[in-house]
């Protein structure tokens, strides 16, 4: 039996950006759900089970870092891989993000969607290795 395709949650307030990411990921064979702000993202996350969460940083209602904190305090997403997209680039304290919140990758805008896809694949390969 083929394993179910991994489900990815994309939380991004810029519609166009969300669209292109989901198109690219879907064509790579993943199932993608999109949320357009932090709160919506949280709702989606708690409604379903996602294997990877890709979130933007600057969003209305709930920003990316706060969303991550919430996710990490939730049993379900304690160790789920999280990627962060950010327009802030170098201004964010990357080490804090990586150490404190366990964010695996940070992508500064503009980024290349295919690059994200590659990292996503890598991420699942690793987890597959670990799980098996």
């Amino acid at each position: 039996m083929s394993k179910p395709k991994p489900q990815i949650l994309v939380v991004e307030d810029n519609r166009a950006m969300a669209r292109v990411i989901s198109v690219v990921l879907e064509s790579a064979g993943y199932r993608v759900t999109v949320a357009f702000d932090g709160e919506a993202g949280w709702t989606e996350a708690t409604n379903e089970n996602f294997d990877l969460i890709i979130t933007d940083q600057q969003m209305p209602k709930l920003n990316g870092v706060d969303l991550c904190r919430r996710l990490r305090s939730h049993d379900q997403y304690k160790s789920t891989p999280i990627f962060m997209l950010t327009a802030k680039g170098l201004e964010l304290d990357l080490t804090a993000l990586k150490d404190e919140l366990g964010i695996s990758e940070v992508f500064g805008k503009p980024f290349s969607p295919s690059m994200i896809t590659k990292y996503v694949e890598q991420c699942f390969v690793e987890s597959a290795v670990f799980s098996s």
Binding site: M17, V20, K61, A87
Partner: protein
């Protein structure tokens, strides 16, 4: 030595020495004169006497000879006269009992005048005697020597004899000299007193010219000096007065300057105790001036505000410049406190410090707003850029997309590029506003058409949020306006865009255009989140964005209203705001209805 003494001594020395020299000179020449005269006399005498004696000798008469010699003795007033034969025996002598005796050779000063010899000597009685010896020679016959002795008149003898008279005689010149000394001393007394003061002034390092004193003598010199001293004293007094006045003025000026400065200026000692504080300092820390309670207190006490005492101490101890927050009432101010060492004129290490306290609240606020703006701007630039890049890259990987998707992606790239361009335009406009170089180029514009274009532009954003969008244009055709169409469009689009942005889903936006006398009035009213009363004055400030979460959640640069305001202002119009927080806002633009006037 005092001047008078010096002069007296010099006078005496020179006069006395001169006189003595003169005396000695006169004495010596007189002496010389006298001795020469007596010598000449003596020689003449001997010259006369010798032939007479010779004649007597030729007679070979001893008695005749004796008589002749006697005769000579009497004639010339000799001390003694004698004739000695060749063996040295007296053959004639005016002194009794000498005949036949041997002649003694007297010892003394010898001289020869031709064949006449003279000897000057002193006898037992200490009388100066001059002996003349002439040879008695006639033809081949040598009878011996004729000796004639006279008393040698010397000045010494005269002096000795007249000792007493001389002493009395010297008394008179001495008295004159003494009188002379006294007269001189008297007449130079004022000069001596003056000289004394001048010497003193030379010996002291920092001599104060008012230390010269008047002298108590009389006479023109003394009076002249006293006048001079009085003049100096007055001069010094008036100099002092001028100096005091200048110092006073400068101090007043300095205080005026200090009190006019907006920053607080405080002078403290090394222990931070306040010595001087200007008006601004009292203002900042709300100290009443009359109380003057700040003098003598440590400046740290005033700088402290509740809760941050240790921080203040530490910060001030380690830095010479610190920034501290201070709460007064319910407003927070940020103060920049700088400490400087006071420079002394002689470059010595001074213990005083000068503190400057500047209120940089406004500057901090501006900085904060600018940082927020930069954040916003970065975001606004990066977002469309990221999209363009992501879409373009995805397009290039042709396997991913189908034809419909490709079209969609290209359109997205296009619209994102447009969005970016518009934002950059806004930025440039704002920078022009900053530089004061935003220019408007007017042209005749039909209002109806303008409104139609604008409405089409903003409609999508209204639709997206399900907003009820109403346009109310008057029945009559509006006049054409002589305006910068593009810029006015920017302003109106901005207002409507804001209405759409800040009105929650399902709300309403009403746009009205009215003609009011000589003005056209555009108003944009919404049922949105509204604006707080205290924010309305700041609304049109550059970079200003409300702190309200609802506003912060939307993207915005804080530039739109500032730009719109500037555009309307350049057209001679104005924008007004009415708003109720939580209920909605109404923005109204008043534009003068000019039509090709003042072209």
């Amino acid at each position: 030595m005092e001047l008078s003494q010096r002069i007296a001594v010099s006078y005496l020395l020179f006069v006395v020495v001169g006189t003595v020299a003169l005396g000695v000179g006169i004495f010596w020449s007189t002496q010389k004169f006298l001795s020469t005269r007596s010598e000449n006399r003596g020689l003449a005498m001997v010259g006369q006497a010798t032939p007479v004696v010779l004649i007597s000798c030729l007679k070979h008469d001893a008695e005749h000879l004796q008589q002749t010699v006697q005769h000579l003795h009497a004639k010339h007033r000799l001390l003694y006269g004698c004739v000695t034969d060749n063996s040295g025996k007296y053959i004639a002598h005016t002194k009794q009992g000498q005949l036949g005796k041997r002649a003694r050779s007297e010892i003394g000063k010898k001289k020869s005048w031709g064949d006449i010899q003279t000897v000057a000597f002193e006898n037992e009685k200490q009388i100066s005697i001059l002996e003349y010896k002439a040879p008695l020679v006639s033809g081949k016959q040598n009878f011996g020597t004729l000796t004639m002795a006279v008393i040698n008149p010397s000045i010494w003898d005269t002096l000795r004899s007249s000792q007493d008279y001389i002493l009395i005689a010297l008394l008179f010149p001495a008295a004159i000299l003494g009188a002379g000394v006294i007269v001189i001393q008297r007449s130079i007394k004022p000069l001596c007193a003056i000289e004394k003061q001048l010497r003193y002034s030379n010996s002291v390092v920092n001599f104060d010219r008012s230390k010269f004193d008047s002298i108590s003598m009389k006479g023109p010199v003394a009076n002249g000096w006293n006048r001079l001293v009085e003049g100096l004293r007055l001069g010094t007094q008036s100099d002092q007065k001028i100096l005091d006045a200048v110092n006073h003025y400068r101090q007043n000026q300095v205080f005026k300057i200090l009190d006019s400065l907006p920053d607080g200026i405080v002078v403290t000692d090394s222990q931070n105790v306040i010595k001087l504080a200007n008006a601004a300092f009292l203002n900042i820390f709300e100290i009443a001036e009359e109380k003057a309670e700040f003098v003598g207190k440590s400046i740290i006490e005033f700088i402290r505000s509740d809760g941050n005492q240790e921080d203040v101490e530490m910060s001030l101890a380690s830095n010479s410049i610190s920034e501290l927050s201070r709460f007064s009432g319910d407003s927070e101010r940020v103060l920049r406190i700088a400490r400087h060492r006071m420079r002394e004129q002689n470059d010595s290490e001074c213990n005083q410090q000068i503190w400057t306290i500047s209120d940089i609240t406004q500057r901090k606020l501006t900085e904060k707003m600018r940082d927020e703006f930069l954040d916003s701007a970065t975001h606004e630039l990066r977002t469309p850029l990221s999209n363009i890049k992501a879409y373009a890259e995805t397009l290039a990987i042709s396997e991913v997309l189908d034809v419909e998707q490709q079209k969609e992606f290209c359109n997205t790239i296009n619209s994102e590029a447009t969005r970016l361009a518009r934002f950059i335009d806004d930025l440039l406009s704002i920078s022009n506003v900053e530089a004061g170089s935003l220019a408007i180029s007017r042209e005749n514009t039909e209002v109806d058409r303008l409104m139609r274009e604008i409405v089409e532009k903003v409609r999508p954003s209204m639709v997206k949020k399900d907003l009820e969008f109403n346009i109310d244009l008057p029945q009559k055709t509006l006049p054409s306006l002589f305006i910068d169409k593009d810029k006015i469009q920017v302003a109106l689009v901005n207002l409507m865009g804001n209405a759409a942005k800040y009105t929650p889903k399902g709300g309403r936006v009403d746009v009205t255009v009215k003609l009011l006398e000589d003005q056209i009035v555009f108003s944009v009213e919404d049922t949105g989140i509204g604006i707080a009363e205290d924010e309305i004055p700041k609304l049109f400030d550059k970079f200003f964005r409300s702190d309200d979460n609802l506003v912060q959640n939307e993207t915005g640069t804080g530039l739109g209203l500032s730009l719109a305001n500037e555009i309307i202002r350049l057209h001679g119009g104005k924008i007004t705001v009415e708003s109720q927080k939580g209920q909605g806002s109404k923005f109204t633009i008043f534009l003068p209805a000019k039509s090709e006037a003042f072209a």
